[in-house]
Symmetry: C2
């Protein structure tokens, strides 16, 4: 195994002294700087042309999907009904309801640059609920619209849809979150009308009850988010990392992606980031470099 390389990007993190090195009393000049584990995901999501292009691609797909459905007088909704399963999805009826689209907020329509830069600068490696609460309250000016989101939401509204946000930010911080959303050019977002939050009901971070409340009044033509919970809480009961991945690809759910259910990329945080090497890589898909004659087999 080779030494962890000195990482130029890690060196760029001003004020970031690796504590694990200080612990063992290595002189600073010799200390290896480990790359922060969230750096590459942040480079991709917040810094790269590719990440921005995927975001724009997704928002363009939302616009084109809704325009195509409206043109074809197709009024099918995409919120699962109470008795639906992933194997047998049934959707809440759209009959007689005005059209809407429902989106998550964080890392969907809004990029939380302030909170993420803060995490990277501190070397934070786990979710700090109290700090995040302070960010909800005071961080609005350090957020921006996700690439393509503001233009897309404006287009949806121009097409006659009501844009509704379904977020796990706290109901107690509704005013500050509304201000952040509107300052980023994504609003309006009115709590209880076009903004639904954690604490609105007794189900915590689960979003199905909020979705049901929205779908009782609106024909939801598009759902968007960065996590599977933005589409259905049914994904929560899928057990292993592998089973969760299989669930997104099993018919008929596999056909919904990009056709009513729209996923924004987030390799920085959330339930997508789980599993060790044996969860991520099937045992029958390992490769042994023929040049490694003395290496042990992986399993």
């Amino acid at each position: 195994m080779r030494p962890v390389a000195l990482v130029a990007a890690g060196l760029a993190l001003a004020g970031c002294t690796p504590v694990e090195m200080r612990r063992v009393s290595v002189p600073p000049a010799q200390a290896l700087r480990a790359e922060p584990p969230q750096l590459r995901g942040m480079q991709y999501l917040y810094g790269s042309g590719e990440g921005a292009a995927i975001s724009r691609q997704t928002w363009n797909a939302v616009i084109d999907h809704v325009a195509s459905r409206l043109a074809g007088k197709d009024r099918s909704g995409v919120v699962l009904a109470d008795d639906a399963t992933l194997a047998a999805p049934r959707f809440v009826s759209c009959a007689g309801k005005p059209p809407a689209a429902v989106f998550d907020v964080d890392e969907t329509v809004l990029l939380n640059l302030g909170a993420e830069a803060d995490d990277l600068a501190r070397g934070a490696n786990s979710f700090d609920e109290a700090r995040w609460d302070r960010f909800e309250k005071t961080g609005g000016a350090s957020t921006v619209a996700a690439p393509g989101a503001a233009e897309a939401l404006a287009r949806l509204r121009a097409m006659g849809l009501t844009v509704i946000f379904n977020s796990n930010r706290k109901a107690a911080n509704a005013a500050e979150s509304r201000a952040a959303i509107e300052a980023a050019g994504l609003g309006p977002a009115v709590h209880g009308e076009t903004l639904f939050l954690s604490g609105d009901d007794a189900t915590g971070s689960r979003k199905d009850m909020r979705r049901a409340r929205i779908a009782a009044r609106f024909c939801v033509m598009a759902l968007g988010g960065d996590q599977l919970g933005d589409f259905s809480d049914l994904f929560r009961s899928v057990g292993s990392v592998t089973a969760r991945r299989v669930a997104t690809g099993s018919p008929p759910v596999d056909r919904l992606w990009g056709r009513g259910w729209f996923v924004l990329p987030n390799p920085v945080y959330g339930p997508a980031l789980a599993g060790g090497i044996d969860d991520i890589f099937p045992a029958d898909k390992r490769w042994r470099d023929p040049a490694d004659s003395n290496r042990k087999e992986p399993n």
Copy 2:
């Protein structure tokens, strides 16, 4: 700054002894295990439901885009002409040419599970060209089709398109790459006809000349890849991390994503993963936690 936490996922990496700890003679039992820097990107791309859903969403969008263009008799191509710029894109004419779609191979239609699990297990942190060459030659059985790719390519062929691969794998390994592509259910891929590789011309890893060669014969209705070079080499001459991101979002290029140019997610390797904190996060989008009364300003 808090200590780097012991990471459960890191512990799952059998045989992974952190060399930077051994160097400073810390007893193994006390050694902190740093999380491998590429772990989270791999969890997202190869392991998660969200990553799989984005892949499927992209492939569904390719199908729907091509079907819609064919239905509308829209025969506009999406390969930039020689004299195009990003600010003034012009496309190679489609007149009289049969329809085609052109895709990158690695982390676009094919996931290289074998090579990536090997990188993670070894703690590799930079590209090893010789090892990758051996992977091209011997790793085919440890690859799988990206979620949704095989079905999408089959649909495109059924719609009358020729599917063509434009990859930076080596021309010298054409036979092995063809076998890998075809074994994953993505073929046919015939070198010089439907498979173009690095070494086919004198421009190395640049793909414009190969695209021009393909577009001279075919009406290319869709381009797909995980890196900006899969769409145009013009992105190579864009300087900074920030400028590269801006380039993807500037009109009229911003409208192409999901409408002829299709991006697959890759937070694991490639030019998207660049930049330090100041490149990723604009200076005016930092947040200071009001609870950090003694903390220095980031800049």
